[in-house]
């Protein structure tokens, strides 16, 4: 059988982001996949040379459009650790609230796109309709829809009043009710199962050795979630990771769906325990960061790692960002061989690729 090389991406109907895979196919089956990156590389890490460490917050938020809060959170936690700044308890709980809101909106976006990848257009629209409500909550509580600029070194910038908090709770109830209505379709429907069960299987062993993170790792049965380390206020909220054991596209789908519901729960818990008080520690008079640190948080797509190094100057020496999709690409290369060409969109989307993150 002759081999053919087929380029998949960077422009493809199901992929919103420019990843390019060189697929070697034999008949209809894939035997090798080689990624090609660099279409949206922006060199944001190097911006640390000319932007001071406060301005870098706005820069790192733009690494990824979908999870800006969590990028900024990781960066701020790192700097706070180097500088020895204590964050007020209310700010820690609010950070959890906004992080989880972002996780919900990112997962809903993904669930919609995933439905679209196997051609279930109406389900796609349903998920995005629900997502709109989360965007509204973001806009009302933080001031912007996606890139919300709410984290600062030493706390958060907004302090929602009790009325706003009540409104958020009401909106979240609506979101939960709507999601429960879609649960049956997304998890039990014949067409969904036909396209996802048994596709892109990653065993527990493989997932761990290939360095998979987030829902890809948890879909393969490894209960690992950076939120278990208890950063921000997660340590006080009795957080439990969501785990599935099958390791296929369906398991990853299920992990993300259940995580969305779990996030709603976490927001409720965080709000019920929300302490009163300050939301921002003044950091005037503390020297600029000197030293190095590694900080990890859990993004919707998986574990995010920041390595920060400062030498007491206004600008940092090094900001190194390891985004979750970057870690999930090697597992993808292992998942793809053996599948039909028509399954490539589904399997590729099942890792929730965010290429802007990957290339920074």
């Amino acid at each position: 059988m002759r081999k053919t090389v087929i380029p998949f991406g960077p422009q493809h109907p199901v992929l919103p982001e420019p990843i390019h895979l060189k697929l070697t196919v034999e008949d209809e089956r894939i035997i090798e996949a080689i990624p090609n990156l660099g279409y949206v590389h922006r060199g944001l890490e190097r911006l640390a040379d000319i932007r001071d460490f406060h301005q870098m917050i706005q820069v790192v938020e733009r690494v990824c459009g979908i999870c800006s809060v969590i990028h900024a959170l990781c960066y701020c936690q790192g700097i706070e650790e180097i500088m020895g700044v204590e964050v007020p308890p209310r700010a820690r709980y609010l950070r959890v609230m906004w992080s989880e809101l972002h996780r919900i909106q990112s997962h809903l976006l993904w669930l919609g796109l995933f439905a679209d990848s196997f051609g279930f257009e109406s389900l796609f629209m349903q998920f995005w309709r629900v997502r709109e409500k989360i965007m509204d909550i973001s806009e009302a509580t933080t001031g912007n829809r996606v890139i919300v600029s709410v984290n600062v070194i030493g706390g958060v910038r907004r302090n929602p009043d009790p009325e706003q908090i009540r409104w958020v709770l009401a909106q979240i109830d609506w979101v939960e009710a709507e999601l429960q209505r879609l649960e049956d379709t997304m998890l039990e429907d014949y067409t969904v199962k036909k396209r996802t069960v048994g596709k892109g299987v990653l065993t527990r062993q493989q997932a761990y050795e290939l360095g998979a993170v987030g829902p890809v790792l948890r879909g393969s049965g490894v209960a690992q979630d950076a939120r278990q380390t208890g950063y921000a206020a997660y340590g006080e909220l009795h957080f439990e990771p969501v785990v599935e054991t099958d390791g296929d596209c369906y398991a990853r789908n299920k992990v993300r769906f259940r995580e969305t519901l779990a996030s709603i729960d976490l927001i409720r818990r965080a709000i019920h325990r929300l302490p009163d008080g300050e939301v921002r520690t003044k950091i005037k008079g503390i020297k600029p960061p000197q030293g190095e640190t590694v900080n990890r948080v859990e993004q919707p797509r998986g574990e995010l790692l920041y390595y920060l190094k400062g030498s007491g100057q206004k600008t940092l020496d090094r900001v190194r960002i390891r985004t979750p999709t970057f870690a999930n690409i090697p597992p993808l290369l292992v998942m793809l061989p053996g599948h039909f060409l028509s399954d490539v969109p589904v399997v590729t989307l099942s890792i929730d690729p965010c290429i802007s993150c990957t290339e920074r």
Binding site: Q55, M56, S122, L123, E139, I147, S149, R181, E188
Partner: protein
Amino acid sequence: MFRMTPNIVRNLVVRKSTRMYPVEVREPFAQVRGELFNDIERCIFCGTCEVKCPSQCIQVDKKACIWTCDPFACVFCGVCVDTCPAKSLYQKTKYRSPTGERIIISQQGQPRKKDKAKDRAGESGTPKGSGEEKADPGGDPAT
């Protein structure tokens, strides 16, 4: 396949979730950070906003008292508003509407000195807080 049917039937009877956008616009939320304005009469031309802005879209000419902003480079982060010592910057809740031409907002203020009164008399030709001036001919400020 039939699991989606209840949702579809429901969608036929409930209210539409989309708006006829340009005709019908939702009221913005109260705390939204939208378009940036400078109340030039209160500005003391300290230059804090120029230093703090992460997208470096503001220039302050301290001598000539000119505050310039490239509104298309602004990312609506609100850092300048937070740090302005004279509280002269503020953001409306509406976003800037798209335009076909690039504009630069340039506002001429008056120096805040002890001899303010004298200065004011000398510069009576300049309208106070003259608003947005066009940087390139033909550009219409998008307000």
